[in-house]
Symmetry: C2
Subunit: 212 residues, 2 copies
Amino acid sequence: MAGTAVKVTWYTAGAALDFWFDFASTYSYPAALRIRPLAREAGVTVRFRPFLLGPIFKVQGWNTSPFNVYPAKGQHMWHDLERVCADLALPFRRPEPFPQNSLLAARVALIGLDREWGEDFCVEVYRAQFGEGGRIDSADAIAAILAGMQIPAAPVLEAAQSDANKSRLRVQTEEAQKLGVFGAPSFITTDGELFWGNDRLDQALRWAKRAS
Amino acid sequence: MAGTAVKVTWYTAGAALDFWFDFASTYSYPAALRIRPLAREAGVTVRFRPFLLGPIFKVQGWNTSPFNVYPAKGQHMWHDLERVCADLALPFRRPEPFPQNSLLAARVALIGLDREWGEDFCVEVYRAQFGEGGRIDSADAIAAILAGMQIPAAPVLEAAQSDANKSRLRVQTEEAQKLGVFGAPSFITTDGELFWGNDRLDQALRWAKRAS
């Protein structure tokens, strides 16, 4: 299965929304778990676009999550995320350490998003990390997630770590930066409107619908 | 009118919520305009609590609004606020300069909140600043807002600038800091739950109701 590249075509006709996320981003967890059913209901096609926040944060002078840079904000975020997940009936468990290195997960997601299991993989990574408080920052952790999805891990990990795929993630991260993405989750409509945060998912879907 | 101090009693019985805000805070504008009708509907008593973000931001190393410190975030905020206001059918006009010095407005609000016109004054200050894009950072601007409310400005401004009232605002700002407030608007329920942001107003009201 891992060898078959089924390229998903990106809809340019009809309502569409780009979902930009970093696997280490806390509020991307509820967004990733909500976006597919909500988009289906709204008649909007969503494209999952993993990228890395690290290089973007570095430009702002941060070497870690702003939730670590500003502890009062971080303390509120964990508590708020717990309340948000409770309202959505999503399991929540705070992972340690935070943030986790999301590089390998993002590379694997790019491979998966060319095939049919990419979006499910993204959801499983978020669930493992923020639903179960597990780690996602090692080849073993990612292999376990793939195994849980009945996907042979070795060829996927090899493809993920190829120079071509590494460069693809760099390019995608640069694209995010050029589009003005400064945090995650971010949603961008086909007419270029940027919405930041899980709290803006519904508004972004409405905008995508209107813009189509 | 300005001479009659009618102290408003704070309800301890029944559902109650503290609304913490700085007049320079952008997202406090939709919160201030929404909170009274929403709270009435929810059966929650709200206490308006103006404070100053400046000393709190200084601890985090900022000498101006984080929206100025981080321009990408600031750019998104203005555009997002415009969309949020459009959704709520609230007028919006970006004020210059930003942020404005909110010291005098906060001092006057404290005087008003001891009388019957405090909440209306808060709403009018936000409307003048973010609905009309006007200034709120001078005695003339505040006097004009009071005049529009048929309140003689001179005695109010004098009371606002008294040592006792200045110290009261300092104490209130210290209280916000002790409660963990790090941004505005913030909402705190009687059981100590802190909610940050206009996006959390509905959740905070539900919590206040449950906690009572």
